[in-house]
Symmetry: C2
Subunit: 364 residues, 2 copies
């Protein structure tokens, strides 16, 4: 049985700052990187947390695939919109700069929209939506990504798992925080089933002929993920439409790569990934007083969570609730990191002169 | 076998204008109503076309449930945002006014967002997104609607089928026009199966216990529709999250009704439906020259439609393509209206003094 190590969030953050500085990332940017990656682990999105420290960042920085200085520049700007060139820098650094610009515009003019080209994998989409939320704004964050999803009636990978993240303030209840891939599942979920020798539910993906398969290996090798909805009968063309929308707003609007031309976050050679992002911050008070909005959000949330449950179900959730509870759990018991990740961090840390020497709070 | 009648689009428009004027709707608004409803039939969205002339509009106008003058008023306005009170008027009239305001703001300031409270069913969401498209803007249109969809793990109707419509200009290819309910299917699709004595695919809806059922009657009576994705295993919580997002942006942001409090478009008594809408127009040229954007849209579209097809599939579509082809088909052969609808229009038209006396181009 694999062990899980629990670390203090602060320790992980300090380690990751050191990690990025080791690769030549400027101090402020290293702090940003650590915060964005840690937030994924805190929210329980392990697939975008410290487990990807080498895969998405370290390996690419080491091979010179990413500009460590993240030389973001403004291509075009108005009172409410901004287009940034991410200079093939770190995605999270570009993402934070872009959302900060949105927030400033929303403070001044009620709304801000930012578009970023020439960037890289930006971690969890939700991080940037949450930045807007901290100002009581509605925050939206979209990004395109390496093509892994087939269009309806297709059989090859043509669009990314292209996430949609939206955060909305509430009053006494926790905010609504949606952060979803527009595919049914991320590829990682398929790979886990493959590693465990288990089948996947029919619908998650297709084989190289474009037919549904419960064999994760067929999706992984030569197949593709299906968009939210899955088959045509279950309206998979809607998920395909949403994935395409994210591709348009993140990729095409920014003048970034799109579709099959978006680079892999795992690649350590070849041209820049040229990932595109889209951000928006909307000041609720352009429409109505915040306290009235929050009161109504609470009422809507209550209509849902207090509604009758399906037989055998314990609870109805609002989006983001599970993640907020995971953060609280981490505060109490530390941030979980699974054994194989700790082993990788330890081994590679030694190799690359940035030793992973943290003392876990507990191991179990 | 039911017959289908084909009419000239112009004849249908002129008839519907007469219809609305008969109910006291001002001339300009009657023209708007006719255009919005006709567009649904032209695009093949029969469920929102002339088949609903009485159900959604005539019956409610006759019973005084809707203000025939649509006294829209501005509640709050900035350079980029506007909140309208729809005065319990006609949804399509409010929708057009709101999107016109967005377009004007996008022309002036690059972006416009409008929110409408106290409105009614506004027909097809796509109509308003297409209005923005006519100015080469990206158009977004959302509305909440009567609660018909259960939250994940719930068993009662708590949110509407809440559509998302987005239109994006392309170059030599047709524009991308997404217009989708956030439920797997609309209730109408379930009712058709029920009327035909057929089963529905497992996943479209649940019975009164919250369990999947293939019996459309159980979904119709006491059950609920499922959000896009369906079950938890297939990520139905994502569709639930999108439905909730539309509820928030259309209902809560506007200060309109939300969730179970949104009125039915079929009701002929009771309080105003208080439907909320959300619109946005975004000028592509705030980010990059339109011709470059359109060139890249064409390239993205080509990546998709020319990609290898699944075994047994003829074609890969872009969203909106089928609808544009339906419009062309209608231009050639007339707009189809099924026999039962023609019978209702004929019988009620006599009764209410607005005779449906159009000559069909053909009947078959």
């Amino acid at each position: 049985m694999t062990k899980t190590y629990y670390y203090s969030a602060e320790d992980l953050k300090v380690y990751m700052e050191r990690f990025f500085r080791r690769y030549g990332v400027p101090e402020d940017d290293a702090a940003t990187m650590a915060k964005v990656i840690l937030e994924a682990d805190l929210r329980g999105v392990d697939s975008h947390g410290i487990s990807k420290l080498y895969a998405y960042y370290g390996n690419r920085l080491a091979s010179g695939c990413v500009d460590v200085t993240t030389p973001t520049s403004v291509v075009r700007e108005t009172a409410t919109t901004i287009l940034l060139d991410g200079g093939n820098g770190l995605g999270p650094v570009n993402g934070c700069r872009a959302m900060q610009a949105c927030i400033a515009k929303a403070e001044e003019n009620g709304i801000g929209v930012a578009s970023v080209r020439n960037s890289n994998h930006y971690g969890i989409a939700g991080y940037y939506a949450l930045m807007a939320l901290a100002h009581n704004f509605i925050g939206i964050s979209l990004t395109n990504s390496e093509a892994l999803v087939a269009p309806t009636f297709g059989r090859t990978r043509r669009v990314g798992t292209n996430p949609i993240a939206v955060a909305v303030p509430a009053g006494k209840h926790r905010p609504y925080v949606l952060d979803m891939a527009t595919s049914i599942k991320a590829l990682g979920r398929v790979l886990i089933r493959e590693a465990q020798g288990e089948e996947i539910p029919l619908g998650w993906g297709i084989d190289s002929n474009g037919e549904l398969t419960s064999n994760p290996g067929e999706v992984h090798q030569g197949g593709a993920l299906l968009p939210l909805g899955g088959t045509e009968e279950m309206s998979g063309y809607k998920g395909y439409g949403l994935a395409l929308l994210v591709e348009i707003l993140s990729g095409v609007l920014a003048g970034a790569a799109f579709g099959v031309n978006v680079g892999s976050p795992l690649s350590t050679s070849g041209p820049p990934a040229d990932v595109g992002h889209f951000f928006m911050a909307l000041n609720v008070e352009s429409f109505r007083p915040l306290n009235e909005f929050e009161r109504d959000m609470d009422a809507l949330i209550e209509q849902l969570v207090h509604s009758p449950r399906a037989v055998g179900k314990d609870r109805i959730y609002i989006h983001g609730e599970k993640e907020f509870e995971h953060i609280e759990e981490c505060r109490r018991n530390g941030v979980p990191v699974i054994g194989p990740v700790v082993e990788e961090l330890t081994a590679k840390g030694k190799e690359r002169g940035v030793e992973f020497d943290l003392q876990p709070l507990r191991i179990c």
